[in-house]
Every structure is written in structure tokens, then in C-alpha cells.
């Protein structure tokens, strides 16, 4: 196997004395879509924050393209082209859709801004219709699209998505996940996805990890996880479809 794009080695993250992650090992290869599923409070978002440097791991290492990023500040990690659509979308509410996209392109000093905006509008035509609108006036689904598009404006090597389906209608979730699939197919974008919606996430991804109480309890190709009776019982049946 080649060197993974992102490698989380034995990461342990604490909030004060409370351990939120215990010995987490995760690998993301170039061009893959990898998902992490788990219940509320399993530590999924903590892992996201640990990767981004917002809540650095106390022990263990995070390696991106061979660089140790465990204790780098968030903005420097972002400059290595790890883009993130954070939990709760965190778009700039009072700025317009285009201004939000412009902020996403600030790493390259807007060098590819015009070209990339058009790409985003092709990917999410709804954003084109709404380009002059204040982002805060968009619907939840449109805000999620904007959040992803803003992250993509940085031309990332790795896209981190934290619960993109949160609070959205099934049809919108389908649209957004379809867009991610297209991006992955056409531009070989690497995606690491954290989701509670296990069914949709496993359908989309190549490989998956299951997290329970801050530990990775299961991992494997998404097809196998989908078929796994334990996973089905815990995350799929009686839940999302």
C-alpha cells in the first residue's frame, strides 16, 4: 500500500480530564471517500477537530502527506489544503453567497476565483440562483451546499465533511451526496466524511469506520459494513432510509 494521504495514529484527545478519543487509528488513501459513522457523542466531531487542530490530540500523531500536523494551528493546517465543511456549516451569514465563496478562495489570493466559482455553480446550480443573496437567508440545504462549495474553493487535497446531512430533507441529502460522488469521480477528490446518517454515508463511501465511545470498533469496505449484521442492528435498521 502507498503512503496514505491522511493517517491518524493512536490519537487520544481529552476535554480537561475527560477522554473523548481513545487510541484512534484511521487512514485515508488518495482518491478515496472514507466515512466515519457512529452515534451521538461517539467522538466523531472530536476526531474532526483533532485533525483540524482545533482540539489537538494529547498523544498520538496526525500525519498529512508525510507531515506531522498534530499540533499545528488550524489555519496552517488549512493552508496544507485540508478544507473543511464544519459541523453546523458555519457559513458567513451576513455576507453574500459570492462573498462566502471568495473567502474560500483566499488561500490562492483569488487566483482561480472566477474559474472555480463557475465550477461551483455547475456543481450546485442553486447557488448560482442565489449568488447575490445573503447566505443567512438560504435554506438549510443551500447553506450546506455553500459550506461545501466554500471549502472546495480552496482547491483542497482532502475535504473533511462533518455531518453534511444534519437536519436536511432526504431529497436534499441525496443531491448533496450525489455532488460529492461526482466530485470524487471526476476530480479524484479525497473525502473524509463524518456522519450519523450511516446508510447514506456507507452507500457513498468506499471504506468506513465505526466509532463507539471514542474508539474505532469496526472498519472495512463500506459494502461489507452495510451487510454486517452488527452494523445493521446498531445503525441501519429502524433508522434512516
Amino acid at each position: 500500500m502507498t503512503q496514505p494521504l491522511l493517517k491518524v495514529e493512536n490519537a487520544e484527545t481529552y476535554y480537561g480530564n475527560i477522554r473523548a478519543l481513545s487510541g484512534v487509528d484511521i487512514e485515508v488513501q488518495k482518491g478515496e471517500i472514507v466515512c466515519l459513522i457512529g452515534a451521538n457523542g461517539a467522538g466523531k466531531s472530536t476526531l474532526m477537530m483533532t485533525i483540524c487542530g482545533a482540539q489537538p490530540a494529547r498523544t498520538g500523531r496526525i500525519i498529512f502527506e508525510g507531515t506531522d500536523i498534530t499540533r499545528m494551528p488550524t489555519h496552517e493546517i488549512a493552508r496544507l489544503r485540508i478544507a473543511q465543511s464544519p459541523e453546523g456549516r458555519r457559513i458567513f451569514q451576513r455576507m453574500t453567497v459570492t462573498e462566502n465563496l471568495q473567502m474560500g478562495a483566499s488561500l490562492d489570493k483569488l487566483a482561480y476565483y472566477k474559474e472555480d466559482v463557475e465550477k461551483m455553480f455547475t456543481l450546485f446550480p442553486r447557488l448560482k440562483e442565489r449568488q447575490h443573496q445573503r447566505a443567512g437567508t438560504l435554506s438549510g440545504g443551500e447553506q450546506q451546499m455553500l459550506s461545501i462549495a466554500r471549502a472546495l474553493m480552496a482547491r483542497p487535497k482532502l475535504l473533511l465533511l462533518d455531518e453534511p446531512s444534519l437536519g436536511l430533507a432526504p431529497l436534499i441529502i441525496k443531491q448533496i451526496f450525489e455532488a460529492i460522488r461526482v466530485l470524487n469521480k471526476e476530480t479524484a477528490l479525497t473525502v473524509f466524511l463524518v456522519e450519523q446518517n450511516a446508510f447514506a454515508a456507507l452507500k457513498l463511501s468506499d471504506r468506513g469506520y465505526v466509532m463507539v465511545n471514542g474508539r474505532v470498533t469496526m472498519s472495512g469496505p463500506s459494502k461489507e459494513l452495510l451487510a454486517n449484521p452488527e452494523v445493521r442492528a446498531a445503525y441501519l435498521e429502524g433508522g434512516h432510509h
Binding site: A54, T74, H75, P86, F92, R94, T96, E99, M103, Q133
Partner: protein, 464 residues
């Protein structure tokens, strides 16, 4: 409003009748309320006894004012508000209204009007008569416009609530006062130095408050403002404490002409003009006008530059900023430093204008007034802030002019004393009617094809 009949004539009539009726009740209520408060006054007579002095005339004035106010409210203000509301509703359906000539060329017209202001006033009131208008109104208002525009960078753009802005004003003023009296340096050299020193102190304030936001930030900046003032009071050897520094050198016209009466290159002497202090004020008016223009230009330019956009993004969401690779530390520090720098410029100018600085001029109230101007004007809007400064500062000066009120309320009535009461009331009214300030819309800076204003009506009130 109550049910309205369809016939406009009868509606008008019923409005007046209703107005009269409500005015009558308002009169009754105010009579009941004020007869003891206003109608009777306790006083001491020659024998040191407490006696009641009736003031029926005053009581009548209060009651009549209440009645007139109520009548106008019913007959004029409420229908006007209703008409405006329906007009706005219908405008929302049709296409957006095209801004008029004045609205489109507001900046150019305002600059022309301001440049022509001193000659116009001199022409109208004569040299000596123009002093009041140029100094008390013109310069005073422009100083606050500049301060508020400077604070707007910190509060309006970067969203960092700063309650100690007057500290930088003080740093600028004392930098000029001290360096000019101890080292005899000129205004034009010290103006940039004062700005740089203030910017430096902006950074000094910025470091400890990097992790703070909102209320916590406000408290720390408030304390910072007080610390600077207390240092100025207590560092007597350098600052002369509460006595302040007097006899600060005047600014000159780039060292070519001076405004010192004794100087050989005195402006009036050089041009064989009659001696007058008005030249200096007119000169200062243009200096502060230029400084304001610089502040506005820099604010507008910065907004469309990466750092300005980063400030605005920072105001919206700090975490998202970091995840986009923006260094929030330097972004915040530059906001503090830039805002402080303009405060420093304004301070140096203040020193040159007054010729005297003391810690008295830099109390918390000043910070509060500047912040109030920014909030009233609509955070982020230069035009709105300028209007608010005219209203707040010009209003104060106008109060001094209302001498006719002495005829109504007695000779010991001083209208300026009611300034805070009136402004408190005015601010409450403005915030009820226009919660986002005079100009609540924000002009976007990123465009693909065309410009479109973004209405502020979707803005969450009280945010940012």
C-alpha cells in the same frame, strides 16, 4: 390602528375628531401626573420655612405640549407611518426603486458641500461670526466622524466590541502634546508618529484579548481605556496629571506659514490680512476634513481587500475563518491597530486644535458616545455613521443655542444639562424604529457580474 372607513374625506374628519379626543385624554392624564411634580414646587421662604410655590404656567405648558404631541401623533405621524409601510410593501412587489440623483452622488455632493462650507459661513456671518460654525459645529463633528469611522473598523467590520476606544484618542493627543512640547517637533511630523504610537497600543491591547469575544472583550477594553486615563492622571512628572498640558504648539501650513501671532511667517501677515483667529480654525477644518477623507478612503479600500474581507468574515464566524486558512491572530491585531491608528490621528489633531489636553477629555463617556455613533449609524456604514455623528454632536452644540428655552423654563434653565436625557430618549426611539441604525444595509464587495445592495432587513438584530 382602528377600523378605517373607505371614504377619505370622512376618514380625515374622523382622524381629527379622534385626535382631539385623544389629545383631551392625554391632557387629562398629564394634568394628573404633573400637577404635583411640576405644578407645585417646595421652596424655602425668608424664615427658612418650607413653602409650596405654585407653578401653574409651567404646568399648563406641560399639559399643552402633551396634548399637541398626542394630536400630532394621531393625525400626522401614525397615518404617515402606515402610508410608508404600505408603500414599502407595494415597492417590494414591484421592481426596486431607482435611487435619485442625490442618493447616487451622495459622496461627491457631501465633499463639495464640506469644502464650500467655510467660505460660505464666512460670507454669511463674517470672520468672527463664522468661528462658532466652523469650530463648534464643523470641526467638532468631523472629529467625531473620524473617531467613529476608526472605531467602525474594529466594531463594525471586525466585530470586536471595543469600549475603550478613547484610550487611543488619548494616546494620540498626548503623543502630540508631549513630543511637541518636550522636543518641539512639528504637527506634520507628529501626526503620523501619533498614529503609529496609537496603533502600537492597539496591538498591546490586542494581544491579551485575542481569545475574548463579546461581553468579555467589552469589559477588558473598558478597563484598558480606564488604565490609560489613570496612567495619564498619575504619571505627574511627564503628563502633569490632572492639570494637563497647555500651550501645545499650533499646526502650521506645512511649515511654510504659521498661525503663531508672534511668528514672522504668520499667515495673516504674509497675506496682509487683518488678524483673526478664524484662519487657524478654517485651516483646521480642512485638515480634519482631509483626515476624515483619508479614513473613509482607507476603510472603503480595505473592505475590498483580503484583510478587510477577513475582518468581516471574522465578525461572522471565527472558527470558519480558521478552517479557511485565515490567521485570526494577525487579523484581529491588524483590526485593533488600524482602528487605533485613526484614533491616534484624531487625538493628535485634537491636541493641535485645543492647545490643551488633560485626562478630563478622555473619560469613558467619550468611548460610549463614539460607540453610540457607530451603532446609531448602522455598523459598517460610513454614511450612516456620518449622519449619526452630525445628529449626536451637532445636537449637543444646538442645545447650547436654544436660549429661548430660558424664557419658558426660567433663567436658570441650561439645556445642555439635559443632553444625556435627550440622547438617551433619542437613541431608544431610533433603535425601536431602525434597529440596525440609520443605514442598515451592507454593500457587498464580491461580484461576478453586477452590483446589488444587500438589504439589512434580514440581518439578525443585535448581532455582530
Amino acid at each position: 390602528m382602528t377600523v378605517q372607513s373607505t371614504n377619505p374625506a370622512s376618514k380625515q374628519e374622523s382622524l381629527v375628531a379622534r385626535g382631539l379626543r385623544e389629545a383631551f385624554f392625554a391632557g387629562l392624564i398629564s394634568l394628573g401626573m404633573f400637577s404635583l411634580y411640576v405644578g407645585l414646587k417646595t421652596d424655602q421662604n425668608m424664615l427658612n420655612e418650607l413653602v409650596l410655590v405654585p407653578r401653574w404656567g409651567m404646568l399648563a405648558i406641560f399639559v399643552v405640549l402633551a396634548m399637541i404631541g398626542r394630536f400630532l401623533m394621531i393625525v400626522a405621524v401614525q397615518p404617515w407611518l402606515a402610508a410608508r409601510k404600505s408603500a414599502r410593501a407595494s415597492a417590494a412587489h414591484g421592481q426596486a426603486e431607482v435611487p435619485g440623483f442625490v442618493a447616487r452622488n451622495l459622496t461627491v455632493l457631501a465633499v463639495i458641500a464640506l469644502v464650500l462650507f467655510p467660505p460660505l459661513v464666512v460670507g454669511l456671518f463674517g470672520m468672527q461670526g463664522s468661528l462658532k460654525w466652523i469650530d463648534n459645529f464643523g470641526i467638532q463633528i468631523l472629529i467625531y466622524v473620524m473617531l467613529a469611522w476608526g472605531l467602525n473598523i474594529v466594531v463594525g467590520l471586525a466585530g470586536l466590541l471595543d469600549l475603550g476606544y478613547v484610550a487611543f484618542y488619548a494616546v494620540g493627543a498626548y503623543s502630540y502634546a508631549l513630543l511637541s512640547s518636550y522636543f518641539g517637533l512639528s504637527f506634520w511630523l507628529l501626526l503620523p508618529i501619533s498614529g503609529i504610537l496609537a496603533a502600537f497600543w492597539g496591538m498591546v491591547l490586542g494581544f491579551p484579548v485575542l481569545r475574548l469575544r463579546g461581553d468579555y472583550l467589552a469589559v477588558v477594553t473598558l478597563a484598558f481605556g480606564e488604565i490609560i486615563r489613570l496612567v495619564l492622571i498619575n504619571w505627574v512628572e511627564v503628563t502633569k496629571g490632572t492639570f494637563g498640558i497647555s500651550g501645545i504648539a499650533k499646526a502650521s501650513i506645512f511649515g511654510i506659514w504659521s498661525f503663531d501671532v508672534s511668528a514672522p511667517n504668520n499667515f495673516a501677515k504674509a497675506f496682509d490680512l487683518p488678524m483673526s483667529s478664524a484662519y487657524y480654525k478654517i485651516f483646521l477644518f480642512y485638515v480634519i476634513l482631509a483626515l476624515c477623507a483619508l479614513t473613509a478612503y482607507v476603510s472603503v479600500r480595505l473592505r475590498s481587500m483580503p484583510i478587510g474581507r477577513a475582518w468581516e468574515a471574522l465578525r461572522e464566524d471565527e472558527i470558519a475563518c480558521r478552517s479557511l486558512g485565515i490567521n485570526t491572530v494577525t487579523t484581529k491585531l491588524t483590526a485593533f491597530a488600524t482602528g487605533a491608528m485613526f484614533g491616534g490621528f484624531a487625538g493628535a489633531f485634537f491636541g493641535a486644535r485645543q492647545g490643551f489636553v488633560s485626562p478630563e477629555s478622555f473619560v469613558f463617556l467619550e468611548s460610549a458616545v463614539i460607540l453610540a455613533i457607530v451603532v446609531l449609524g448602522g455598523m459598517g456604514s460610513l454614511v450612516g455613521i456620518a449622519i449619526a455623528a452630525v445628529v449626536m454632536v451637532g445636537g449637543t452644540e444646538l442645545l447650547r443655542e436654544l436660549t429661548f428655552l430660558k424664557a419658558v423654563f426660567g433663567p436658570d434653565f441650561t439645556p445642555e444639562l439635559y443632553r444625556m436625557l435627550i440622547f438617551g430618549l433619542a437613541m431608544v426611539i431610533v433603535m425601536v424604529l431602525k434597529p440596525r441604525g440609520f443605514v442598515g444595509s451592507r454593500q457587498p464587495t464580491a461580484f461576478l457580474h453586477e452590483r446589488k445592495a444587500v438589504s439589512g432587513s434580514f440581518t439578525k438584530e443585535g448581532h455582530g
